[in-house]
């Protein structure tokens, strides 16, 4: 992760505070003594029932987007937030600037770009799109 670019959901680059931390996935959780402060890596189709009371203990949860056209991670993120996860939520994988609004609304805190993605779409593109994001219809159909 040391060679990748971390962007906040404003598109602003930031120093990745978790760059050197080791991540675990759902399968290796059982062998772990405590999950306190761990970084958990999830695929979009992860079964949240396996996490249960451990959920609030993770420092960071990383959700993988194998392909930008696969929006499963947006729903998984929302489900994690609704299940009470208040830690750092990170998106990683193939995403495009036009999805920064979707990431923000689903509860993500930042995203990690691979080197080739960051080269083709430098942070300025993400900041541009984020600054001109569409207004939110979903909120305005409800009482304030």
């Amino acid at each position: 992760m040391a060679n990748s670019t971390a962007l906040l959901i404003t598109g602003e680059p930031h120093q990745d505070p978790y760059a050197d931390d080791q991540a675990v996935d759902l399968e290796s959780l059982a062998g772990l003594g405590t999950v306190e402060g761990a970084i958990l890596h999830l695929d979009g189709d992860a079964d949240l029932a396996l996490l249960k009371e451990d959920l609030p203990s993770f420092k960071v949860i990383v959700i993988d987007f194998p392909n930008f056209a696969d929006g499963l991670g947006f729903s998984l993120a929302r489900a994690l937030r609704q299940a009470g996860y208040n830690g750092w939520l990170r998106a990683k994988g193939h995403l495009i600037p036009d999805q920064i609004r979707h990431l923000a609304a689903s509860g993500f805190d930042d995203l990690i770009l691979s080197d080739d993605l960051a080269e083709r779409m430098p942070p300025i593109h993400w900041q541009d799109v984020a600054a001109n994001a569409l207004p939110n219809y979903q909120a305005q159909v409800l009482e304030a």
Binding site: D45, G71, A79, H125, N132, L134, Y137
Partner: protein, 567 residues
């Protein structure tokens, strides 16, 4: 009619700018073609066989004269002078240049229109009964709920990259003209015993290669509770719908695989889990939507007159018999304008015709028009006293074809003439059938009959629910047409049954002709419709006529047209 508030206006304008920016990044090579594709699709831009096609949303099929006139302007300025009205109550322009799309979208925004979410794996344009607000006995105008869903689904951040497209339809009437049982979510308005308005929810209906009648998820849910519930249906679909196979990705397959009870359990578990965070619907927004769809003041309409002091144009009576439907107000009528002139492309209208319809709507129709899923245009409110003038004006515009609901009022997908997915032609098939029965002068005698034609298995022409359904396939490089009988897209929600082996294009007309001959000979009397007859006798008499022996020569003879011109 609903008019944009400041929020709607801002959103649509900003969406145009967003798209302009997306096109620029594509041109600059920042976005790959793969990455650009879903972005352009979510703005209604398809790459077809020969050119880009722009699909413009007409929410729940409702538009006013100004908007119809703007569609004429788009057709002339950016296309070849015509547009194609679709089974999703939208309009498609078939010959659009990519660099000019943003300009066209900007022109649309000038009249409160857009092309947002008319394609792509997102929540599509919400459709509704095309007679909404004009027929008697509705629980409520279904466009109230449809408009709420339009707003809620626009740019929804969680549901913009679903496993597959997602279509919602609403009806407020027991006579289902919105085909709700064949949508991803179908909503049928009803009242509970306490008089509260709500909806029955169907989920997992659809046509395509795996046709399914929607399954009942909830028998009744009050309107106020509907959004959180629909939200969770989408959430469960986005989580558990299949992404490994495009052809198994619609919600109907998820319902097949999980079972409707398990889907309900998962949805309701989520509804309960998120209950505390859900805010109520904005009362002021709901009030403004409801008042936008309040009926016009019908009391000023002139009383119907029994005689006329001018000679009626020929054909008026036949037109009255087929193109007029009862209105909730006794002094008014619902007028259907057929876009199915015999031999024309079903659903096409020229810019001049669009302007003529806009003029007539403004003069005689409370400035309101509808697009029906059967690819016709509706004037929902016309004073009966004005019907002769309306007919006269329509006739001058070449829009007075008297065939609504008859054999030539055919739904046809664009087929191989436009579509990159098509395996066979469908427009020319529709034209041949319409021309054939028109030349025989038989269609009024045959009576109500819905033919629906799809040029591939994806079923955009709704062939599964045609009384006669025609599916065009490719058999080793040769077009071959399968026929189904007895389909019904209304509240009876029935899939057609396959007749037998398909027919090559040159034998198809003869086969349809034979099917009609069997019906005309066998029906009890003129009051027994084709669909009723088919339900009564089943497919056997048709099979005996069309496949008398398995010898190909016998089949050829049997399938030459036999019907003669009516005297």
């Amino acid at each position: 009619m609903y008019r944009y508030n400041d929020f709607d206006e801002t959103f649509v304008r900003q969406r145009v700018e967003e798209f302009r920016h997306q096109v620029k990044r594509r041109v600059d090579g920042v976005l790959t073609e793969d990455e650009f594709k879903p972005l352009r699709l979510q703005n209604g831009l398809y790459l077809q066989l020969h050119a880009y096609m722009l699909r413009v949303a007409i929410p729940y099929g409702t538009l006013n004269g100004l908007q119809m006139r703007q569609l004429a302007h788009i057709a002339e300025t950016y296309d070849r002078g015509y547009g194609h009205f679709t089974t999703r109550q939208n309009i498609q322009f078939n010959w659009i240049d990519l660099p000019r799309v943003a300009e066209a979208l900007s022109d649309l925004a000038d009249v409160e229109m857009h092309a947002i979410q008319t394609s792509g794996n997102c929540i599509r344009n919400v459709t509704a009964d095309h007679f909404a607000g004009a027929v008697a006995g509705e629980v409520e105008d279904p466009r109230v709920l449809a408009e709420l869903l339009r707003q809620w689904s626009m740019g929804h951040p969680e549901y913009a990259f679903l496993p597959r497209k997602f279509k919602i339809a609403v009806t407020g009437s027991d006579d289902d003209r919105a085909v709700v049982a064949f949508h991803d979510i179908g909503l049928k308005l009803r009242r509970n015993e306490a008089g509260v308005i709500g909806a029955k929810i169907y989920v997992g209906g659809g046509l395509g290669r795996t046709p399914r009648v929607g399954r009942v998820l909830r028998d009744f849910l009050p309107i106020d509770d509907l959004l959180p519930y629909i939200d969770q249906i989408l959430h469960v679909y986005n989580r558990y719908g299949r992404r490994d196979n495009k052809y198994k990705a619609r919600i109907k397959i998820m319902v097949d695989e999980l079972g409707i009870d398990e889907v309900r359990r998962r949805v309701e578990e989520r509804v309960n889990l998120t209950r505390d965070e859900v805010k109520p619907l904005s009362a002021s927004l709901m009030a403004s939507i409801r008042s936008a769809f309040a009926a016009p003041d019908f009391s000023q309409a002139p009383a119907p007159i029994s005689g006329h002091d001018f000679a009626l144009p020929t054909g008026y009576d036949a037109w009255l018999a087929t193109n007029i439907h009862d209105h909730r107000d006794p002094r008014h009528a619902i007028v259907s304008i057929s876009l199915k002139d015999h031999g024309a492309t079903p659903g096409d209208a020229s810019a001049d015709q669009m302007r003529a319809m806009a003029d007539i709507a403004q003069e005689f129709g409370y400035d309101e028009l509808r697009v029906s899923h059967e690819q016709n245009i509706i004037l929902p409110h016309v004073a009966k006293a004005h019907l002769p003038q309306v007919y006269d004006r329509l006739k001058k515009a070449g829009l007075a074809t008297a065939n609504i609901g008859l054999i030539s009022d055919i739904i046809a997908c664009p087929g191989m003439d436009y579509c990159a997915l098509a395996t066979a032609r469908s427009i020319p098939i529709a034209q041949d059938i319409a021309t054939h029965f028109d030349s025989l002068k038989l269609e009024h005698d045959i009576g109500p009959l819905k033919i629906k034609i799809s040029g591939c298995i994806n079923a955009c022409g709704h062939h599964h629910v045609g009384h006669i359904g025609i599916l065009g396939l490719d058999r080793a490089g040769v077009e071959n047409y399968q026929i189904t009988l007895g389909g019904d897209g209304t509240e009876a929600a029935t899939l057609g049954e396959r007749l037998g082996p398909g027919f090559p294009a040159e034998e198809l007309l003869g086969a349809i002709d034979s099917i009609i001959a069997v019906y005309l000979e066998g029906r009890r009397d003129r009051t027994e419709t084709f669909l009723e007859y088919t339900r009564r006798v089943g497919l056997t008499p048709f099979r005996q006529r069309l496949y008398p022996a398995l010898k190909s020569t016998a089949k050829k003879e049997a399938n030459a047209p036999v019907l003669e011109r009516a005297s």
